[in-house]
Symmetry: C2
């Protein structure tokens, strides 16, 4: 499947899409968030919203209907909330596209379009939800309104593929051990980020650390930091800053200037030091979360080694009933 | 000023509003969030989005224009990011309404409509940003599309005024001491909530606790809890649950059932035990954040007494340059 043809077929079938809803849970929702940000910012004749799937059902928007496109994602394909969201959208007459890694899973049931994606080492960013989401958003924007940066989006995704191997090595070499050590010294810490990257600030907290490392932490929007959270800053409190390279960088820079003089424990992951600045500026903010996601994978693995806690270990998820 | 006439004048002047942007920072943004949730769910012919003010400027949406209504809020009236956001919106031709507690402040400069609101004990919920926001949203919805629950919204706000005094006493008597004790025992804890109440989950974390008590904590969406955060749950980890009385309650109930068997430290603030269930169901979810905000004020004060840390104390905000 490819985003261009999929979007073309949808528009041929449904006419112009008036609103897009991205529905998923946890890591899968996070992967769709940058695509939503792209449309929130760029689209002028249709709208875009992201929901955690259960809330989408419980607080169903009245604007969901025949002219809606619902993009769902469930990695396992068996997340009941997401399947329920797709059913609700289908009943409302919406066009539904479900992304999943698992062919034949609950969500791959023939009722709607299912896009089965590959996962794991060596898979291109174009083929996984962050890339697919960005391309669906870009194609929809282009085919409905025109989108100058469409070619940049395809090019940018290739560049992400190219820069990630060296970036992974670099983050491991330069930050891995120190990050693990800081986790040993701090039962709790804060992670800062903003803009589309904030999806990965949240992801680093709830997926890489809470879920995969049982590490307590909190995600803070860099722009919001000065409107409350900064009062909790003092020496001994650890802050991890995802320093983006796009439009929102000034928010991190301002927070960082304060952190550097008000705590003794800051770790900065600066996207500009990893080649992300070479991605076209027009699309960089929407693709950069891919960089931060991949760096989080390395850092959680580095922590996992020191704590003897593989990021694959779960004690409840998929094990207990809940 | 009143919401009905303000909205009527705006529509007379501008014609139909096509999109609403709520812009503010921290606690002021939080106060506008339920109004945004109302429009996100109910509106079918116009849209609504909330932004932290700096991100609104840095990632300016292309749909901002002549048919936009920007509702800004700065309690002090001097939040530069919010003033900048209003300037940008004005330059784009949008209708701008700024809420502030401070007459003659930077944001009350004659360039746009300023709504100066009172603050403090005895002020009705109708007169402060959470109420004003809900009424502007409800009036805009009613005057542009019709809104069946408009009368319920006015009635519900009166009911909030009526129920809060006893609710404050009750939360103090039943939870205050224990909450302060749990804060003494836990350097860090989690707060859960969902739906429009999630604004107050975030608020309790970043305003009442981080800012006003220098207490480390993290805010978790109850529906997202099972998609990552619950792996960090174990005996000894403290969870505070804002158990809502509206459509989203099933998300908290599910999280609570798990918490009750997987940690030994849960405190539940159940809106139904405080009379919130008597507010009309049609509008309850959008007004309930008022309840949670007011309960947070009591709980932070209870903590403050035990820690000898008044919620009025700041060490950086409005004191240092940043």
């Amino acid at each position: 499947m490819n985003a261009h043809d999929l979007v073309q077929e949808i528009i041929e079938r449904k006419g112009k899409i008036e609103n897009v809803f991205w529905i998923a849970c946890g890591g899968s929702m996070i992967d769709l968030m940058p695509a939503n940000e792209l449309l929130k910012r760029e689209a002028t004749t249709f709208t875009s919203t992201v929901y955690t799937a259960r809330e989408f059902c419980l607080m169903a928007p009245k604007s969901l209907g025949e002219k809606s496109l619902v993009i769902a994602c469930s990695h396992s394909g068996n997340t009941q909330e997401v399947v329920d969201g797709c059913e609700m959208a289908l009943a409302a007459g919406a066009e539904v596209v479900a992304l999943t890694d698992c062919e034949g899973s609950k969500i791959d049931n023939g009722k709607w379009t299912t896009w089965v994606y590959p996962w794991g080492e060596g898979v291109s960013q174009v083929e996984v939800p962050q890339g697919i989401g960005a391309l669906i958003a870009a194609e929809l924007l282009d085919q409905q309104e025109g989108y100058e940066a469409l070619a940049d989006m395809y090019e940018g995704l290739k560049q992400m593929d190219a820069l990630l191997p060296a970036a992974r090595e670099k983050v491991n070499a330069e930050l891995g051990d120190r990050f693990a050590e800081l986790c040993q010294q701090h039962k709790f810490f804060y992670i800062l980020g903003s803009g589309p990257n904030f999806s990965q600030t949240y992801a680093m907290a709830i997926c890489s650390l809470m879920e995969m490392q049982w590490q307590h932490c909190c995600y803070i929007h860099s722009g919001e930091y000065f409107h409350g959270p900064f009062e909790a800053t003092e020496p001994g409190v650890f802050y991890f800053v995802q320093l983006g390279s796009g439009e929102c960088r000034p928010m991190e820079e301002r927070a960082l200037a304060f952190l550097n003089t008000h705590t003794d424990t800051v770790m900065v992951l600066d996207a500009l030091e990893y080649g992300v600045g070479e991605v076209p500026a027009s699309v960089r903010s929407y693709l950069e979360p891919i960089f931060f996601y991949n760096m989080s994978c390395e850092l959680r693995a580095a922590r996992g080694k020191v704590f003897d806690h593989s990021p694959e270990i779960r004690r409840y998820m998929g094990i207990e009933q809940y």
